[in-house]
């Protein structure tokens, strides 16, 4: 089954205005030129290699800057196909790439003409996608319970958003689909998603849009479309993620600290797919397993050649040789 990755670099060059809590590492890079931290390169490689191993071809949508960077670090040849024209062209439009950094991705999704899988670059699928994920209208990674800053209600929407009216029937209490993995089986759903996204991101120049709004244009509106059209959705896991969890190991559960994952009543545990979504670790960078990922790429995938050329990997080689 064909998957796509998207790396749209235009948001990077407006990183001082960039929305999205997952971008703290990027915002903190003291560089006017395009760069990515080591761990992002490593988990992108793993996402590609695991997909190819278990599922099939993978295509990259990026732009000239992204392709140049991926080429330098030997990622470009890992893809079965690469397109830079589509996003180069999209970058010339007046889309606010800092506020709506996922627009490049949604444009690429809308460009597809047959069922496919979209993977975030930090989404690592560790087994073959089974047949049940390829029926129904859509398969998502999992559902999320919105909470904290990204949680809004009608009153907040109407007081902070001026360029579009309140979305009729939008229910802020419903779960939101996590979009790190999307298997689109129904392309009508995809068309509706694209139209809604375009409608929501069409702002006047210099309009100030609050931080929480981008997530509505990406995940929130997809959930709304699913419910309004009664689309049938599968998930890679039965577990539901809680936004803004504050208890990693369960030790503080007794005093009401919130954990990340919750299992609903009567889960269908026969439908669970092994995956690793780096996601929250992107923010919590001390938990990153960069050396382990490096070792996995070198040993399990026999891809030492990816790290031979650039001095960026010297420290990983030292760690590798000291521990093997």
């Amino acid at each position: 089954m064909k998957a796509i990755h998207v790396n749209w670099t235009k948001p990077y060059f407006e990183k001082h205005r960039l929305r999205g809590h997952g971008f703290e590492t990027i915002k903190n890079l003291n560089s006017e030129t395009y760069n990515l931290p080591d761990h992002q390169i490593l988990f992108t490689i793993l996402s590609i290699l695991h997909w190819k191993k278990h599922n099939g071809p993978i295509k990259l949508y990026t732009d000239s800057i992204g392709a140049s960077f991926y080429h330098r670090f030997n990622l470009l040849d890992l893809y079965d196909e690469v397109d830079i024209n589509f996003l180069n062209k999209y970058s010339k439009t007046d889309i606010d790439a800092a506020y709506f950094w996922t627009s490049g991705k949604i444009k690429c999704l809308a460009h597809q003409t047959e069922p496919f899988v979209f993977l975030d670059n930090d989404m690592i699928i560790k087994e073959t996608i089974p047949e049940w994920a390829r029926v129904n209208d859509l398969t998502i990674a999992h559902w999320e319970i919105g909470r904290g800053y990204y949680y809004f209600d009608k009153e907040k929407f109407e007081s902070e958003i001026n360029h579009v009216p309140w979305i009729e029937n939008y229910n802020v209490d419903d779960w939101s689909p996590n979009t790190s993995f999307l298997c689109f089986n129904n392309l009508d759903l995809l068309n509706k998603y694209h139209k809604w996204h375009k409608h929501l991101v069409k702002i006047y120049p210099n309009t100030n849009v609050p931080e929480w709004f981008w997530l509505l244009t990406d995940q929130g509106i997809l959930g709304h479309i699913i419910r309004e059209n009664n689309y049938k959705v599968n998930t890679l896991t039965n577990q539901i993620a809680l936004a803004h969890h504050n208890n990693v190991d369960g030790i503080n559960r007794y005093k009401g600290k919130a954990e990340k994952w919750y299992l609903p009543l009567d889960p269908d545990l026969s439908k669970e797919i092994k995956f690793e979504h780096v996601w929250l670790d992107k923010i919590n960078t001390q938990n990153l397993r960069s050396n382990q990922w490096f070792k996995e790429i070198v040993n399990d995938f026999n891809m030492a050649k990816l790290f031979k050329k650039d001095i960026r990997w010297n420290k990983y080689w030292i760690h590798y040789h000291e521990n093997n």
Partner: protein, 249 residues
């Protein structure tokens, strides 16, 4: 402006990206059929050079860059010749193009240690081939003969990035290279003979402000070559403000 790439020898084929990174602007000059079809199959627009003036293998293959520069300037009038390991780092905006307008010929600088051959060998794995050692002898000889002495090093233009809108520049360099029977980095030595000026004058007249000849990011080792390169890079920073759009690794 066209972006010119050159397949000047077999060693660079592995550096060619699987698709053109600048699809509307990129042209590749090739010197044999295999290379021509190799890049055509990847989607590049390519020219096959009819007469190869530099058939001496690694002794003078860099001269092919001069041929490509000459041919492309005659055809396209304004070009940016880029090595395959010269990576774009940010969108080419108005500031970039304005910086190119400042000088009709722009080529960055780099430095080799005055003990050129040994200083390079120190940075490489042991047991290099005899032919490579011979190439380093020629490099050292040329740097000492044509380059600018600076501290413990010798400075030369770096042909990894060449901006030019002087359509006779390539031809003049070619004439110099052939007349002087240049070897090793033929392109860079020819440029040194062409400019015939002091290092300070070169900086004023020819140095671009959009990259360094050798990326600072690569200068991490505790060795003579990287030491003198770091020192030279810092000195250059005092002479001219460089805002990188490209990185030559």
């Amino acid at each position: 402006m066209k972006i010119i790439r050159v397949l000047w020898g077999n060693d660079v084929n592995y550096e060619v990206p699987k698709l053109p990174l600048f699809p509307e602007h990129e042209i590749v000059y090739c010197f044999d059929y295999e290379s021509f079809w190799f890049v055509k199959n990847k989607g590049y627009k390519a020219h096959l050079v009819k007469e190869d003036l530099f058939k001496g293998g690694k002794i003078n293959n860099f001269g092919r860059k001069l041929q490509a520069l000459d041919l492309s300037l005659k055809k396209y009038k304004e070009v940016l010749l880029l090595d395959w390991d010269c990576y774009i780092l940010k969108p080419l905006d108005k500031k970039f193009y304005n910086s190119l307008k400042q000088k009709p010929i722009q080529i960055p600088l780099y430095i080799q240690h005055k003990d050129t051959k040994q200083a390079i060998i120190e940075t490489l794995p042991k047991s290099q081939s005899k032919s490579f050692i011979k190439e380093l002898d020629l490099l050292e000889e040329g740097f000492h003969k044509y380059g600018w002495q600076w501290d413990d090093g010798i400075v030369a233009p770096n042909f990894g990035f060449v901006y030019c809108r002087d359509i006779n520049f390539g031809e003049k360099l070619l004439q110099i290279a052939i007349k002087e029977n240049l070897t090793s980095v033929v392109d860079e030595f020819a440029t040194l003979l062409y400019v015939n000026c002091t290092l300070e004058e070169y900086i004023q007249q020819y140095l671009p402000t959009v990259l360094k000849g050798r990326s600072d990011q690569m200068l991490i080792y505790d060795c003579r070559l990287h030491e003198v390169s770091r020192k030279f890079s810092k000195w250059l920073d005092t002479k001219i403000k460089i805002k990188p759009y490209f990185e030559h690794v």
